[in-house]
């Protein structure tokens, strides 16, 4: 990889992390309402998968995939406004956090219903295939969401038509408080791919190199019409399920173990081994991402909160009369 690329990826890792940290801090300060689901610790997955995508590729992020928005091209300012529930957010305040997509950048906004985006991704991928377009749909989901029927229906359909879709499972070992052994019994979720007639693989989701490699191959396969891939990324969330969750259902030892494989740190080790000036890069990048996030927060705070009657907008293509006697 070129030094530029090395630095660029580092920038993304740091930007996502800074963004996450800032949001957690804002939440603590009571500046946000609504759920905040930190993806801290899982940055390599979203960076790795979204970095290689084109503008006309689509992603389907879930609640912990804030990084996916940033790397896929969303304006950090608008993303922050979305999180604040302001008028300049993707939802114009109608919903918050990641329940608003950024369609101009190929980002579909999820409902809360876990797994429900996967059929949408598969449907969209069918269009790419039917029209001979070489775009790709990438759907993210947690290992907890994998238990939902929708996930099955989508994978089955994607297999039948060998659709250009990549299913990225972020196995962070917990669904809220529920550990893997109460969520599924297979050795690995990647094994399920066979039952749908496509390829599944397991990846170290904390190692950006591994993720990049796997992402590149899966995306290329989809683009060339060779069908879907299910990639199970083993990773870990540092925070509780949401900022309100003290995550007492897990051992501190476990958290420490995972922190010792931190994706940002691992990338710094790599930068060092490539003889880049890590200290300088770190300082410079920190400054850069701090500025981006700062600006985003300033923008979001300045963005007006929507007014009451705006609640009636955007419901239908042409407003219908919803005033009843």
């Amino acid at each position: 990889m070129t030094e530029q690329k090395d630095r660029e990826l580092y920038y993304w890792l740091c930007l996502v992390r800074e963004f996450e940290s800032r949001i957690s801090a804002l939440d603590k300060q009571g500046k946000l309402s609504g759920g905040v689901y930190s993806g801290k610790g899982q940055e390599a997955v979203t960076v790795g998968f979204c970095h290689a995508l084109r503008k006309d590729d689509w992603i389907f992020p879930l609640h912990r995939d804030l990084g996916a928005f940033l790397v896929k091209g969303s304006d950090p300012k608008r993303l922050m406004a979305q999180i604040f529930g302001r008028r300049d957010g993707f939802s114009k305040g109608k919903d918050s956090y990641l329940h608003g997509g950024d369609m101009g950048n190929g980002i579909f906004g999820a409902t809360s219903m876990l797994g429900a985006t996967l059929p949408v991704a598969a449907g969209m991928a069918f269009k790419f295939k039917a029209r001979g377009e070489d775009s790709v749909a990438v759907a993210f989901f947690g290992e907890g969401a994998s238990s939902r029927g929708d996930v099955h229906e989508a994978m089955n359909f994607a297999g039948v038509h060998r659709l250009p879709v990549v299913f990225v499972c972020e196995n962070n070992f917990y669904a809220y408080s529920t550990p893997n052994n109460l969520q599924f019994a297979a050795d690995s979720l990647a094994e399920r791919a066979r039952g749908y007639g496509f390829k599944g693989e397991i990846v170290n989701g904390n190692d950006l190199h591994s993720v990049l490699d796997s992402a590149r191959k899966a995306i290329a396969r989809a683009r060339k019409g060779e069908g879907p891939t299910l990639v199970e990324c083993k990773t870990y969330r540092y925070h509780g399920h949401s900022e309100h969750d003290r995550a007492e259902y897990r051992e501190q030892e476990e958290v420490i173990t995972w922190e010792s494989r931190d994706p940002v740190m691992l990338w710094e080790v790599y930068l060092g081994m490539k003889k880049h000036d890590v200290e300088a890069i770190r300082t410079e990048t920190a400054e850069k991402v701090r500025r981006v996030v700062e600006e985003a927060v300033a923008f979001a705070e300045a963005s007006p909160p929507p007014e009451g009657p705006e609640a009636m907008d955007d419901l239908y293509a042409m407003p219908i009369d919803t005033e009843v006697p």
């Binding site: 993707f90 991704a121 598969a122 449907g123 229906e153 419901l315 239908y316």
Partner: protein, 324 residues
């Protein structure tokens, strides 16, 4: 040309697919088979398997996939083999589709149609007789239509396909081959949101859709010497054509609402409630409703008939209200 209700549906899909290459049909057995009722007979042959798509038995995928296609500018028609199975796609309809535009702050349209055979009267039993429109009537962001003539079946389906919002289209299977009408050769649409005043009258308004609408028309003709009945065919349930209902009730002072779906929590309740609020001073009698009894639609003939509205019950209800 003379066409049946089901043929009107087939023509609407065929013509819209011919007109707009983005229109497509997703459903179980819609391709080679042409659907259990032949609603899509010949379409796959004409438009190919990428536009008339035989889906696995996955209703949630059918509708969710439709949303993904819609975001890409396609206009998918999502067929439920029987409308009863819409329960299996419920989340995708009420959450993914109905809120799509809203949660995206207007960034996208959601032009999907979900349609399928609804209704009873054919001894279909609990799972092939349902009229689930009230569930969707309660969901902002959706539009809901229920045609009762072949003309409307075609015109409303065309309108639904061209509409930029998700439309749930209830076609009544009792009508499929029992209704046959002359309809125009030329392209036409029936605008969503407009009820049809099928018969003018001064004494009493009947608002109806589905089989009880036809019962009301017959009763109105049969009783025309005694009472002058105005009959409104609702056609679109959501958004409700409140203006048409209101002016009619203002004029006649009496309202009977009819539908085949169960009474409690049905669409008729909303209409009655609005009239009770907004036309209070105009009313010369109680707002009446007749609908299915509050149970499931049973299989055995006598029970089914006991549960569903029929000609006798409709006539009796009209007579009772007229006499008030």
């Amino acid at each position: 040309m003379q066409v049946t209700y089901i043929e009107a549906i087939r023509q609407a899909m065929e013509e819209e697919m011919a007109r707009d290459p983005n229109v497509m049909l997703l459903g179980e057995d819609v391709g080679v088979l042409g659907g259990p009722f032949k609603a899509s007979a010949g379409l796959q042959e004409k438009f190919g398997p990428d536009r008339v798509l035989d889906m696995p038995i996955s209703e949630s995928m059918i509708v969710g996939g439709g949303v993904g296609l819609a975001v890409q500018g396609m206009r998918p028609i999502c067929e439920m083999q029987f409308i009863d199975f819409i329960s299996c796609a419920f989340d995708q309809i009420v959450n993914t589709a109905a809120t799509l535009r809203y949660r995206h702050g207007g960034q996208t349209a959601c032009p999907i149609v979900v349609r399928g055979p609804s209704g009873g009267g054919v001894h279909g039993g609990l799972y092939h007789s349902q009229n689930p429109e009230a569930w969707f009537f309660h969901v902002p962001g959706l539009k809901v239509v229920a045609p009762s003539t072949a003309y409307d079946a075609k015109g409303l389906l065309k309108a639904a396909i061209r509409d930029d919002d998700p439309v749930i289209y209830f076609e009544h299977k009792f009508f499929y081959r029992r209704i046959k009408e002359e309809i125009p050769e030329d392209d036409y649409v029936v605008p969503i949101g407009q009820a049809a005043l099928r018969r003018e009258g001064r004494d009493l308004t009947v608002v109806a859709y589905g089989p009880p609408f036809h019962a009301a028309m017959k009763a109105a003709r049969d009783m025309e010497k005694e009472v002058d009945i105005e009959v409104i065919d609702l056609r679109t349930l959501l958004p409700l054509d409140w203006g048409t209902i209101k002016s009619s009730v203002r004029k006649t002072g009496k309202l009977l609402v009819l539908h085949e779906a169960r009474l409690t929590g049905g669409v008729g309740a909303e209409i009655a409630a609005r009239v009770a609020q907004d036309c209070f001073e105009d009313l010369d009698g109680p707002v009446m409703r007749l609908a299915a009894r509050d149970t499931h639609t049973p299989f055995a003939a006598a029970m089914e008939d006991y549960v569903l509205p029929n000609q006798d019950k409709v006539t009796e209800a009209i007579r009772k209200l007229a006499a008030y």
